[in-house]
Symmetry: C7
Subunit: 234 residues, 7 copies
Amino acid sequence: MFMPRAYDRAITIFSPEGRLYQVEYALELVKRGAPIVGVSSPEGAVIAANETPESRLENPEYFRKIFQLDEHVGAAIAGLSSDARVLISQARLFCQSNRLLYDEPVDMEVLTRRIGDLAQVYTQHAGVRPFGVSMIIAGVDGKEGRVLTTDPSGSYRGYMATAVGRKSDEANRLLEERYKDGISLDEAAGLAVEAVREASEGDVTSSVVKVAIVPADTRTFRRLTDEEVTKHLK
Amino acid sequence: MFMPRAYDRAITIFSPEGRLYQVEYALELVKRGAPIVGVSSPEGAVIAANETPESRLENPEYFRKIFQLDEHVGAAIAGLSSDARVLISQARLFCQSNRLLYDEPVDMEVLTRRIGDLAQVYTQHAGVRPFGVSMIIAGVDGKEGRVLTTDPSGSYRGYMATAVGRKSDEANRLLEERYKDGISLDEAAGLAVEAVREASEGDVTSSVVKVAIVPADTRTFRRLTDEEVTKHLK
Amino acid sequence: MFMPRAYDRAITIFSPEGRLYQVEYALELVKRGAPIVGVSSPEGAVIAANETPESRLENPEYFRKIFQLDEHVGAAIAGLSSDARVLISQARLFCQSNRLLYDEPVDMEVLTRRIGDLAQVYTQHAGVRPFGVSMIIAGVDGKEGRVLTTDPSGSYRGYMATAVGRKSDEANRLLEERYKDGISLDEAAGLAVEAVREASEGDVTSSVVKVAIVPADTRTFRRLTDEEVTKHLK
Amino acid sequence: MFMPRAYDRAITIFSPEGRLYQVEYALELVKRGAPIVGVSSPEGAVIAANETPESRLENPEYFRKIFQLDEHVGAAIAGLSSDARVLISQARLFCQSNRLLYDEPVDMEVLTRRIGDLAQVYTQHAGVRPFGVSMIIAGVDGKEGRVLTTDPSGSYRGYMATAVGRKSDEANRLLEERYKDGISLDEAAGLAVEAVREASEGDVTSSVVKVAIVPADTRTFRRLTDEEVTKHLK
Amino acid sequence: MFMPRAYDRAITIFSPEGRLYQVEYALELVKRGAPIVGVSSPEGAVIAANETPESRLENPEYFRKIFQLDEHVGAAIAGLSSDARVLISQARLFCQSNRLLYDEPVDMEVLTRRIGDLAQVYTQHAGVRPFGVSMIIAGVDGKEGRVLTTDPSGSYRGYMATAVGRKSDEANRLLEERYKDGISLDEAAGLAVEAVREASEGDVTSSVVKVAIVPADTRTFRRLTDEEVTKHLK
Amino acid sequence: MFMPRAYDRAITIFSPEGRLYQVEYALELVKRGAPIVGVSSPEGAVIAANETPESRLENPEYFRKIFQLDEHVGAAIAGLSSDARVLISQARLFCQSNRLLYDEPVDMEVLTRRIGDLAQVYTQHAGVRPFGVSMIIAGVDGKEGRVLTTDPSGSYRGYMATAVGRKSDEANRLLEERYKDGISLDEAAGLAVEAVREASEGDVTSSVVKVAIVPADTRTFRRLTDEEVTKHLK
Amino acid sequence: MFMPRAYDRAITIFSPEGRLYQVEYALELVKRGAPIVGVSSPEGAVIAANETPESRLENPEYFRKIFQLDEHVGAAIAGLSSDARVLISQARLFCQSNRLLYDEPVDMEVLTRRIGDLAQVYTQHAGVRPFGVSMIIAGVDGKEGRVLTTDPSGSYRGYMATAVGRKSDEANRLLEERYKDGISLDEAAGLAVEAVREASEGDVTSSVVKVAIVPADTRTFRRLTDEEVTKHLK
């Protein structure tokens, strides 16, 4: 209980057990963020997030957890929204450069690695702190939906379906039970909404659960309307 | 009680619970600032502030909480006025560049994000401290009034109506009770004044409550005269 | 008593209560400085200072608290004279640039904000300490006398009349009691001298109280002679 | 128990016993990483790794411990994958430059030393932390297979066969017992798989043990298929 | 007794009482330096110093406390001689530039302010320590002798006569008692020698007390010979 | 026991006893390194080292303690091999430059001083740690063999014969007893091997003791074969 | 005993008593160095040093305490030889530049001040430590021998005769007793050797005491042969 304190004051350095404390503390912040979920399907990919506003008077238009990165990719964030904006700006720029240079949509792993590489720099050099945000990046590569994640350490991983943020353990358990290979995009959206509900406290409504999809046929990011979300809420 | 002290001495870093202490301390400063309020309406936006001078001899001309950023946008500040000036200068410059580059008024979310991005940098890099100021940014986008806020972390949010600073909980409770969709600009100004009064200690007069509006038709920032404010004070 | 020490060792950072300790400590230094007073009048502005030398052999010619910044503006300082010189040099340069660029005397608020902006930088960046000086800036804008102040935080304010430095509370109480709107420049000078006397320990003479005025008609900074000061000492 | 803490807070410096604590802590991280194994043979070289995914839903396509560096060289990593990516990028760039400059494949020791030199810089200069990763580099030099390792200190060594990561002591003991000079590439692959199994907790399957080989005749890095791996699992 | 230690470790920062400890500690060093004295007269200015060598074998030629800065100005130092050399080099350069640019001897206050400005920088920025030296600068401005002082804070003051260094309180008391307006240059030299003797431990001889004068008529710095000094020692 | 800890945390600074702790700690590391020996003779110079590999499977080809620096000079290292590589690279570059510039082999003292100068910089500047390595540099200058050493402080010395590393006291005692002026190169090699054996734990074989010589006649660095080494092992 | 530790960890700063601890600690190192002596005479200057090697096998050719700086100047060092080399390189460069620029030998005080100025920088700026070396600089200026010293603070002084290093108090006492004005160069060399013997532990021989002279007539630095030194050892 006492020992950790000796290692976390300065830059991101190793503790005697070989852990990077600042990175682990940033992950604590992520774990307290509102839940986000990504589900992939042969027909495309889905991202869902709980965007419950702070108060009745908050304008939901300006409170977003889901962002479009490129025509065929979107991302959901858990953690510090101001930190996330830095990574999102860089990611969008990278997508555009890719289209300009190669005249084709960026490969999703290449994009995710790029975000991770940027985050890694902030864990190894003094004078900065790690980014306090994890992301779920979802879209279409080739003909299938794909879901990847990045975290404050700069690591990235790929998943069929995954949840990040508050109560993500519960949401991930639900995903593991219900995810089936060959799931349709519509089922994927339903599963994503269900997982967000699992991880959310209290009841959730279509004004609170936001969903975006990237169908494999159109390869175009699209936010679901409230009506579409409501359908998935039963 | 004892633990926090171990984490706040150096640059803005994460505590074991994943909090950025320097940012939270800056928010403490904001919470002690004189109350400011923003209210949006389909007819425009309103900002109000308590500008009670320090003494009878203070010249109110030089003590301001409300600033014009562009023809169609204004801002109120809570916290360190010297820190606020840095952000306001940058914001004005950004508004002017936008007009020069695109020949149109800056979008209010774009402007607010810019201020937030600047503030974020001061929370992630060593050698600086976060800005000790929160802002309410109010103006007209398209045909409607808009109210947004920034804080020391660099986050921004949008509201129908919101209060920041001393006793903002009381003021926000009042706003939540009385704010109605489709409120007129005149009612919005009245509500803003009322909320400032709620958050102010003791009695307030028109020489103390300052109000600025941006009507949706003129799209032009205007400070209310003392007479106009008096009207709203009943 | 013990806690503050944990927060003031490094750069200027926030304490858990949202205070900038280094700035507050610099203000302590200012409060121990010899008293300075500024009084505005429709006919001009007055600055007065206690320039009691350290010993009988000190050459008063080189011990000054009052400085001319431009033809129409002067300043009095409380705190570290070596720090003050840095700000005064910058202020003079700014006044000259303004005349060169716009061919007119600098606006007094613009000048004071400039000094404040410079001071603010020293409160937000590592590797420097705040300036240990507060200033009263007095002069003529348009047709009236004006009095403004800056402090180590970079904040600035305007006053009809104000005192800074040792026993400024007593001096300000006197100013609040006796200041009258429409006061003549001669009365303003008398009031300024009285306020310096109030804040000074022991008896004061014309060789110790120094006064400078900027009349609204001439718009020209002028130091009062010992005889003129003596007149105001009764 | 208490003493070490005094030496590991700042940059990578020597302890009184002449140890570099940050480097040793990074090695702790490596020791907790999933096991990797390299085996050389006159017929080529083998790398094997335990790539057990985190959950049933993890997409193994994006979770790799084995990377191709050049046509004739591959590497396995133990430790922080985000740190490893930095070294792998640099290594690939170096391989390409070498081909461009000298029109021949890079010598394996030269490549490994380059990786080690980069890692060394991060142990001697302030403002960075050592890389939290060890690598096994395997490939073909001249006509034989070669296996080398790098660690966080920047040191490199060559081995007939070696294991790094979790339970590497057990795996290395097995390698020392069973490795024979003149081993065939097929036997080497079998031995590598066996060593990974020895170091892995629980049972392992072909979907979890990944193997890559560089045969001396083709000099071309190739990942074994699941079927090929299954064969080596008995 | 304990508290000061908390504030003096890092750069020159404010203590809770608004003091700059590093500057005050540098002044302690100055107070332990050998005594120096300056006396002004309508007929010129005098500097005197105790230049007692360390041992019988020290070569007094290389042990100086009095330096010529320009034809019409000299300086005596108390404190670290190696620090003093830095300021003296800069001062000489400034005097030469002034002659080149304006074709006239530098004004003594301008010169002294320049030295003070340089010293001030070393009290406000990190990465340096204040200069551990105070100076008495004496010479002729217009038609009169002048004496000014600088200290580690960068402040400067003017005096009819003043002493700095070891036992300067005693020497200053003597100067206050005996200094008379209109004193002749010869009397000034006598008084300066007497003050050095007052501040020196044990007996002093002409080989130990060094004196330099700048007569108002010649405006030329001149060191007194041992015979001339002996005359003033009675 | 307690005191040292207060002085070794930051850059390489002096302790109250005038010692550079970081340098002394680096020397501790050197003292734990495998033993190396250098012996000079009128007929040339010899370096010997214990290159016992870590395990039976280590490839001795990649584990070296002896390096050729130029045609006529070699070096043995004790300490961190990754640090040594930095110095060796610089030394080789320096040798080559020397041949290019002056068209002759570099003087051995000039080369050794260069290595020492580089090491010295790392003991006087912040942001780096000293090199954790000592070297024995052996070769031919003029017509004779020469042996020099460098250490982490940047000091260098010359010896007829010397040992560095683990149990170097024992080895040096042996060298002092048995070294004779006018020793032949063959005897020197035998003495070097003997000294390595003295300093090594357990029995040593020709596969473990490595020897390199620079004969005065050929002036060319040459590694002895295992057979040649075996001869010297009796 | 406890207090000093609070002030010596960071850069070279003032203690509450106005002392620069890092400089004083460097002086401790100098006081432990082998003794060096300088003696001046109207006929020239002498430097002597105890160059006792570490062991019987040390090559005295590479272990020097006395260095030639220019044709007419030499220097002896006490302290860290690696630090000394930095200053000696700079000094030699300065001597050469002087000859190139002015076509005459450098003045000895100018040279010594230059070395001191370099050392001073290392006592006032962060990121470096003071030089751990004192020097005796001896040579011929005009027609006489001169002896000057520098120390880690950057101060310099001149002496008829002086000793630095281990037991320098004893050696200086001897010099004070025996030094006579008008001493011949030969007597000066004898006195220097005697002083080195006084400061050395145990017996000293000509192979251990090294002497260099700069005669006033030749103005050329020359090392005495062993035979010449033996003569002075009686």
